[in-house]
Point group: C2
Chain length 210, copies 2
DNA sequence: AATTGTGAATCTCTTCACAGCA
DNA sequence: TGCTGTGAAGAGATTCACAATT
């Protein structure tokens, strides 16, 4: 099997969102043309992307929404539930704990940790915030594969190492630092200021309308 | 002037972070080789990227950190202060309000809005949360160029339109929807579940170590 | 008639490799 | 010698365009 281009992987979530919406609306089939218009891509690109995962389109008709949905879910790995460890229960951690989209999309917070004694023991939904000292043991014991890192920048690398040693395979990192980790651990970075900088860059480099 | 490739724009924030750290540590020069190792890029790429903005490296020495820092800041547009409107004062909105990195990086929240009457009037730092009905007028009056959208998915498109009409040039969107806007308005999307899906995808498609 | 899947062409990005500079 | 800046080559991603399919 050809390996999947990075660019394609980044678009899969896009397809998933579209297909879930269509399925929810009872739409049975979708053509590459129709999908491409909704998503702002080209029709050829949609076909090329989907072709990486097999050939399940139907000439003259398009793709069966339900079948394709199952396929994309399987490809993304969201056809099963993923327990996630949340580390850091500050402002951001609390917002993530309350984030309603996660449970609807196969990710559920299975444990919450914080190093601040004042926060430990506090109830977050049905969970209690646990001391960060128990992080390694608990994550390993529960075999939690994913973690969300919502701790201050200067604590991030240390926590990341402990998570990696505890067997975590992927980390969603909100701290504005580049984590150094063994390559079996994948990292997705979300950095709010980087995103704002992209906006200021584009504004600065575009002709003003007025 | 050649137009700047998208891929380069995305790396500028990376360079900015590195240069700020070096400058803080009193480092005077940096070679493309040294920079590339820290950042996990190739040395040729660093040189190529920087060359888009002029030629200010020095043969045999490298780049002057302070000069390059100023240059990168100017390119990204973070050499001046950017007022930002925050729309949505729920869990995420409060976390963003408290986010300490923004003020250090030329972005400051200049106004906060929420449609929930119970939240209006509440104090967020030195600001009072304002009614969303005043959004258009206030944003226009204050000429706020950037907005952070931290509202529920079903309200996002409507708020985005009002922001666009009020003259906003860039929107950082946290709602899991694709905003339709005039193309003079740039959008950066941050979608937590998309990032988690990228992790599950990579884990699913990688040989397990054990 | 409508639509897929894909070779070939094109466009974009990255790396190689080296002349030229301090 | 150590390093930049860049032309040329290479790799990767996108689009074109059309034979094959229902």
């Amino acid at each position: 099997m050809k390996s999947i281009p990075k660019a394609v992987a980044n678009r899969l979530s896009l397809y998933l969102r579209l297909l879930e919406r269509l399925h929810g609306n009872g739409v049975l089939t979708i053509s590459s043309r129709a999908a491409s218009e909704t998503l702002g891509l080209s029709d050829a690109q949609v076909r090329r992307d989907l072709a990486y995962f097999g050939t399940f389109g139907q000439s003259g008709i398009g793709y069966l929404v339900e079948e394709l949905l199952g396929k994309v879910r399987a490809i993304l790995g969201t056809d099963r539930a993923w327990p996630v460890a949340l580390v850091g229960y500050g402002n951001l951690g609390r917002a993530l704990m309350a984030y309603a989209e996660f449970p609807h999309r196969s990710f559920h917070i299975a444990a919450v940790f914080d190093s601040d004694k004042a926060k430990v023991g506090r109830s977050a939904r049905q969970l209690k915030v646990q001391s960060a000292s128990r992080l390694f043991t608990r994550v390993k014991q529960l075999r939690i594969p994913l973690a969300i890192l919502a701790v201050p920048a200067d604590a991030a690398q240390n926590v990341a190492w402990r998570l990696a040693r505890a067997g975590v395979r992927g980390i969603l990192n909100f701290a504005p630092v580049r984590l150094q980790l063994p390559k079996r651990v994948f990292v997705s970075n979300i950095d709010f200021t980087v995103s704002l900088e992209q906006l200021s860059f584009h504004i600065r480099h575009t002709k003003r309308k007025s």
